[in-house]
């Protein structure tokens, strides 16, 4: 449950389904918007992760 990637996919799935149902009526249009949102979020997340890969992560911040 705590896999970063799984949670990102789950979040993109929920948001994609929600907005495709909210903003589109036809089934074809809904699927198209869903794929745009889902792939945009997951692909964008992977792209940002890839861009950040060379940078060191450093020690975790202390919890107040």
């Amino acid at each position: 449950m705590l896999s970063h990637f799984l949670l990102m996919v789950l979040y993109a799935l929920l948001v994609g389904l929600f907005f495709s149902l909210l903003w589109r009526r036809g089934r074809r249009e809904q699927v198209k918007l869903f794929l745009q949102i889902f792939l945009g979020m997951v692909g964008g997340g992977l792209l940002v992760a890839w861009l950040m890969y060379p940078f060191p992560s450093g020690p975790p911040a202390p919890i107040p």
């Binding site: 449950m1 949670l7 979040y11 929920l14 929600f18 149902l21 909210l22």
Partner: protein, 138 residues
Amino acid sequence: MAESGSTSAPPAPVTLPQGNPVVAVLSAWLIPGMGHIYLKRRLRGLAFLVLVIAALLIGCRLEGNLYQVVPGQPLTVLATLGSMGMGIPYFLLRYGLHYQGNVRGAGYEYGTAFLLTAGLMNLLLVLDAWDIVRGKKE
């Protein structure tokens, strides 16, 4: 002056759906998807209910933060209003189940995002129900 002769089609009559705007908006806020169910969009309403509750349950499972106002931190007011957008579930979690996130939990930040998203999604559903009942949307 003579008419140019161009004929433009008359605007399509707007048919308002059956329903009271106040009831539609209130029910949409209190129970996710209920506004759409009230406006005879049952399948969509049920789908929205499932999606919002799923986001809520995942957020709770990850022990995310259910925002409340913290004195001296004005941004928590906005976050609290956003979270309250989920309606009854917010108050049930906050005051009925005394839910508190776990800041030391591994999924705290993710859970907070899911919980806040549930509230914001339901606020959009309230606006959507308002548009439907006013005839601005199908």
